[in-house]
């Protein structure tokens, strides 16, 4: 089962993601974002990067996490597809090992640019499982 979904937002794009815990939902929302950027089927998990984010609250963590991944993607050209996220700092920080590979235009199909993740319409719901909805500026 895919635990993320790209949803409508008039100007931009919303990503909805769900997971058993907040960490899993954070991993899925990142996969959702990168599924818009690239055809993930063409990418394999042959390398990894480590990402660390510290935020002030869970909502900010979602936004900062996605924006950090965008920054790393555009500066290091590393396209991540799997995310092992562990939370720290009472759910306001995280460490993640992100598996994927460096972009190779001859093998990877890059579809679009995402400018940033935004706070607008950001929702974190916890009822049994964790759900995140976030709007991306594309």
């Amino acid at each position: 089962m895919t635990a993320f979904e790209l949803r409508s937002h008039t100007a931009d794009l919303a990503v909805f993601a769900a997971g058993a815990g907040f960490a899993e939902a954070l991993a899925e929302v990142a996969r959702g974002m990168f599924s818009y950027i690239a055809d993930l089927d063409t990418v394999s998990a042959r390398g990894h990067i480590e990402v660390e984010v510290d935020s002030t609250d869970p909502e900010a963590l979602v936004v900062d996490w996605l924006n950090e991944l965008l920054y790393r993607y555009e500066t290091e050209r590393f396209l991540p597809i799997e995310f092992n996220v562990s939370l720290d700092n009472q759910g306001m920080g995280l460490k993640a090992r992100c598996l994927g590979e460096t972009v190779d235009p001859s093998r990877h199909r890059i579809k679009a640019v995402v400018k940033a993740a935004t706070y607008h319409g950001l929702r974190i719901v916890h009822n049994g499982r964790w759900e995140i909805t976030v709007v991306l500026d594309v």
Binding site: T10, A11, Y71, Y73, E74, A112, Y119, D137
Partner: protein
């Protein structure tokens, strides 16, 4: 939601959103639209966002929305808000957007559609090759900046590109701020935006960004058109829509983080975190302004490089010099920017911070801020439509100063989301359908064409008609697409 019962019709395509619509609004909203377009908005949250913007401390007059308004993040896209500089006014990075100084540049030629048609496919393919979209390469373009040279780009903007041989000094004469806005500080930008953005200089990007070859379809005001070098129906023009790429995106991301935290310490509470604001006079406010201006200069260097490669592409295809083909710039305008401007408030000259988030400056004849050659006709207003319909060339008018702080619309405005456009167009060969209309399109893939197809947008003709009727700008010419490249 029937917005026509909530907003009050003031006549002349002006609709007021009463201040009591939402407790906390400091000023009413003013939406330039007509009944049909207002009904079209349905469940769109754009009007709600107009109300949210009215919460900004120091906002003057109205929270304003253009007829191409649609649901954005924080600010609506098509939103204009002015805050008082001397006093409690705030600056909001969300009122500028992630793509700082996203804007439009227009070039004219002395070629006619009949000259270009036989080589159109070759021309569009050449442009697609010569003007990097930067998408497939994860951002990378063809300009390799030496270390520290990015700082020069951030200070010098368009003139930096011209010095590198990309363009002509005359291009700068007809660029807003001459392509270089003062008080830009590369140190305020920080290392992350530079690292992300520097390799992307000279790229179009994706989304609604494009480069389009057009033909003049109809001229409404020949006198103003001729001043801008537009002489006849069928004349070929070029329009470029793009911004500051990853550099601007990262400046906005980084400052939003700082400002979101700082805003609370200044006691600023807003209904949407994406509206995060700080006083203009605060350290954070000054830092953002200096960084935003640097990103704006980057965007002007970006469009300058793209204009240069456009000329080179025409030279390759037609085997004539660009001067011989008369490829001169008409104008370059920003539509995502906050600027300190002097406006009349209750008859008194007042310094305002005018946020234009998806809105174009529309200054009237005689304004000292527009190029001397256009001072008689007003500032050129460049309004791109969708790739299947048309775009417009307009000029600023005096009434816009009082109505919208000298602003007009910036495009057609989205109607359908990206996901629903793709659903609606499933199975359609958009490229072939455009070709049947005589339009050659080249893009990264099917999805980027589907997301930007005509059905996803309001009809540009309606949007421009509302601006004209409301007194925000005056139509000069309509331009029809011949070919387009997209990220």
């Amino acid at each position: 939601m029937d917005w026509t019962t909530i907003l009050k019709d003031q006549g002349n395509c002006r609709w007021e959103l009463p201040k009591d619509y939402l407790a906390g609004m400091r000023v009413p909203g003013l939406v330039f639209t007509d009944e049909a377009m207002l009904r079209q908005m349905g469940d769109e949250q754009a009007i709600q966002q107009v109300a949210n913007v009215a919460f900004l401390p120091g906002i003057i007059g109205y929270s304003i929305a253009m007829p191409d308004i649609h649901w954005g993040y924080g600010f609506p896209i098509g939103g204009v808000a002015a805050t008082r500089v001397d006093g409690d006014g705030v600056v909001s990075p969300g009122g500028v957007g992630f793509d700082i100084n996203c804007g439009v540049r227009m070039l004219r030629t002395n070629l006619l559609e009949s000259d270009v048609r036989p080589k159109l496919r070759d021309l569009i393919a050449t442009l697609f090759r010569e003007v990097p979209t930067g998408v497939a390469e994860s951002g990378r373009g063809r300009i390799r900046l030496k270390p520290d040279e990015v700082n020069r780009v951030l200070v010098e903007g368009g003139p930096w590109a011209v010095k590198q041989g990309m363009g002509h000094a005359d291009d700068l004469e007809v660029t807003e701020e001459q392509g270089r806005i003062a008080d830009a500080d590369p140190d305020a930008v920080g290392e992350r935006p530079k690292k992300r953005g520097a390799p992307q200089l000279g790229t179009l990007g994706s989304g609604n960004h494009f480069l389009e070859v057009q033909a003049v379809d109809e001229i409404f005001d020949l006198d103003a058109a001729v001043v801008m070098g537009i002489r006849e129906v069928g004349q070929v023009t070029v329009m470029v829509h793009c911004g500051s790429r990853g550099l601007g995106h990262q400046v906005c991301t980084d400052y939003l983080k700082t400002i979101e935290r700082a805003g609370h310490t200044y006691g600023i509470e807003l209904p949407d975190r994406q509206l995060a604001s700080v006083p203009i006079a605060s350290d954070e406010g000054r830092g953002y302004f200096a960084a935003m201006r640097a990103a704006a200069n980057f965007a002007w260097a970006n469009r300058q490089a793209i204009a240069h490669w456009t000329r080179m592409s025409f030279e390759q295809v037609f085997r004539r010099s660009w001067e011989d083909m008369g490829i001169w710039q008409v104008y370059d305008v920003s539509h995502n920017m906050a600027k300190i401007e002097e406006h009349l408030v209750d008859g008194v000259k007042t310094r305002l911070c005018v946020h234009r988030k998806g809105a174009t400056r529309s200054f009237p004849p005689g304004s000292p801020d527009i190029p001397a050659r256009y001072r008689r006709i007003g500032q050129p207003v460049l309004i791109p439509g969708d790739m299947g319909r048309a775009s417009y060339l307009a000029v600023g008018v005096p009434s816009a100063m009082a109505l919208s702080w000298g602003s007009a619309c910036h495009g057609a405005g989205r109607l359908e989301s990206r996901t629903s456009a793709k659903k609606l167009l499933k199975g359609h060969d958009i490229k072939a359908e455009l070709e049947q209309q005589g339009i050659i399109a080249m893009a990264q893939g099917w999805a980027s064409l589907a997301e930007e197809a005509s059905l996803a947008y309001k009809d540009i003709a309606d949007v421009v008609r509302v601006c004209d009727t409301a007194g925000l700008c005056r139509r000069v010419a309509r331009l029809r697409p011949l070919g387009v490249i997209k990220g």
